[in-house]
Symmetry: C2
Subunit: 316 residues, 2 copies
């Protein structure tokens, strides 16, 4: 029976000014997923007993992704999927995307890589729709491509790889719930043209900063005058964390995806450790439980793991 | 008496999706300006008798630019300025910007380049305010820096040089009047968030396309869902020209600045000549007089000219 195991990493969508168009792949945390090819047209999901995600494939982001793929395959095959979920659902660092993207990449590997990366993003977007009600690609694209992705267009799908300097990323996940659908609902349907102009200056600046390895420009461009002012009120301590982290040397950062996680880009590991401490201090003071991560940009995205070295499988 | 002569080139603001934040410098057409240092605190403007621009320095974009500069100089000096105006006012290819930027660069040259390029953009923006009522930098910045400029922010002024492949630019200037102030007034103050998202995908794509030398990406990103649908109705033949030029091989293009000129980026001179023909055909058919230019990206911006070779002075 053909089986493959993959690491499916966390991702940061939006990158402050790039709402719905930019995303970045992290090295940690990551889910571990095992997919086995079946000779029957069905998708079976085994979530273990660690998390309360639905195992009905139509309601599970990984399942929906695989079912979308199966729709385009005229063969009597199916998939059995085991997920070790390390990225907490609702954290804002692409938990649903990791499941959807990891499943698609793993299944494609078993099929001899018959689908392109763009196809895989398309399948994984069907998974995202199960989670948030909206087909968005700003987590699944960087999860599959690695590095930083610009989603220039959804219809037709147009994903641009944006190279970047090696940066460290500090992330804090306060243990509060912000539902993606709620975070979308509080956004206004219209924005001021003058704010939109500021935003497109910053997006141009951020893309140029990454491509030109200009750390100062990256920092100056990490500004959001449209989404952050609305969404940050859902995240206790947001303003204080942002201010303290920038004082500690972070280039800049903001809400990861729709929150509640907050991320900061840092030019080296020492600053990233200081920034992590600032994050901890604020939530210790407020009295909210949290997880923090200090990690780097994952330039590869979802990757297969050699099962002959099973020690990888349980050391997330 | 110290005198300098400069070429002050035309520019294309907005570049379709980058309203108020992107601009590109052309090699042709260009104004020729001669600035002489005076030992008296005044600005004198000699427009010749070719165009009906005001010679009162406070009402002239070049004069306002020089007066803004003089405000920051604590010396008993002034400037005498002669302008040979080849870029027709109201054409939408940065006529006012060329005057404002050319004057600032020339005066700075006479003063031993005491001001930075960012300073010069600031002075020239005061000139732009005279012309359009708004301090915008998307013409004066590329006119001074050359190449393609991203104006990430106006306050504080933050100008990013965007390198690009060598492209040809075809421009048609239909002889109709579109006032910048009118072209601004018809814009809505609010835009749909979903349109703004499309726009920032395209801006990111266009900046990435230039920096990565990706011609297809440049072409796909030259799309404007916000400004062009409103402003293009002021320009007869716009849709037909755009369609025909793209069929003839143009990467893409649109309204230059606030119009009425239309520009198209082309990957080589042969295509640019075909595109120019398509432009001519449409206005010949409609019966509107026009000028066309086929030129390239000017990577230097305003430049001083050696007066020992006066033949340069009258061969625009």
């Amino acid at each position: 029976m053909k089986t493959v195991t993959v690491y499916a990493p966390a991702t940061i969508a939006n990158l402050v000014c790039g709402f719905d168009v930019l995303g970045l792949c992290l090295n940690e945390p990551y889910d571990i997923m095992q997919v086995t090819l079946l000779d029957e047209r069905k998708v079976v999901i085994d979530m273990g007993d660690t998390h309360l995600l639905p195992s009905d494939p139509a309601l599970n982001t990984a399942g929906a992704s695989l079912m979308e793929m199966l729709n385009e395959i005229n063969k009597n095959i199916g998939f059995h999927l085991t997920i070790q979920k390390n990225i907490k659902p609702g954290s804002g660092i692409g938990s649903s995307a990791a499941s959807a993207a990891g499943a698609a990449v793993a299944a494609n590997h078993l099929l001899g890589n018959i689908f392109s990366k763009t196809d895989l993003v398309r399948f994984a977007m069907a998974g995202e729709k199960v989670a948030s009600g909206v087909k968005h690609a700003d987590n699944v694209a960087p999860c599959i491509y690695g590095g930083i992705s610009l989603i220039r267009s959804i219809f037709p799908l147009d994903i641009i790889a944006i190279s970047s300097p090696s940066l460290f990323v500090a992330v804090v996940h306060p243990q509060i719930e912000v539902r993606t659908s709620d975070a979308r609902q509080i956004l206004k349907k219209q924005v001021l043209l003058k704010d939109a102009i500021k935003q497109w200056g910053n997006i141009g600046g951020l893309v140029a900063g990454f491509l030109k390895n200009d750390l100062d420009l990256i920092g100056r461009s990490l500004e959001d005058v449209i989404i952050e002012p609305v969404r940050s009120i859902l995240i206790p301590g947001f303003n204080e964390i942002k201010m303290n982290c920038k004082k500690a040397g972070a280039l800049g950062g903001g809400i990861s995806g729709s929150g509640p996680s907050i991320f900061m880009l840092c030019k080296n590991e020492i600053i990233a450790a200081d920034v992590e401490n600032e994050m901890k201090n604020v939530y210790d003071k407020i009295g909210i439980a949290y997880h923090t991560y200090v990690t780097t940009i994952n330039t590869q995205g979802v990757r297969t793991v050699n099962l002959k070295h099973p020690e990888f499988l349980y050391s997330p």
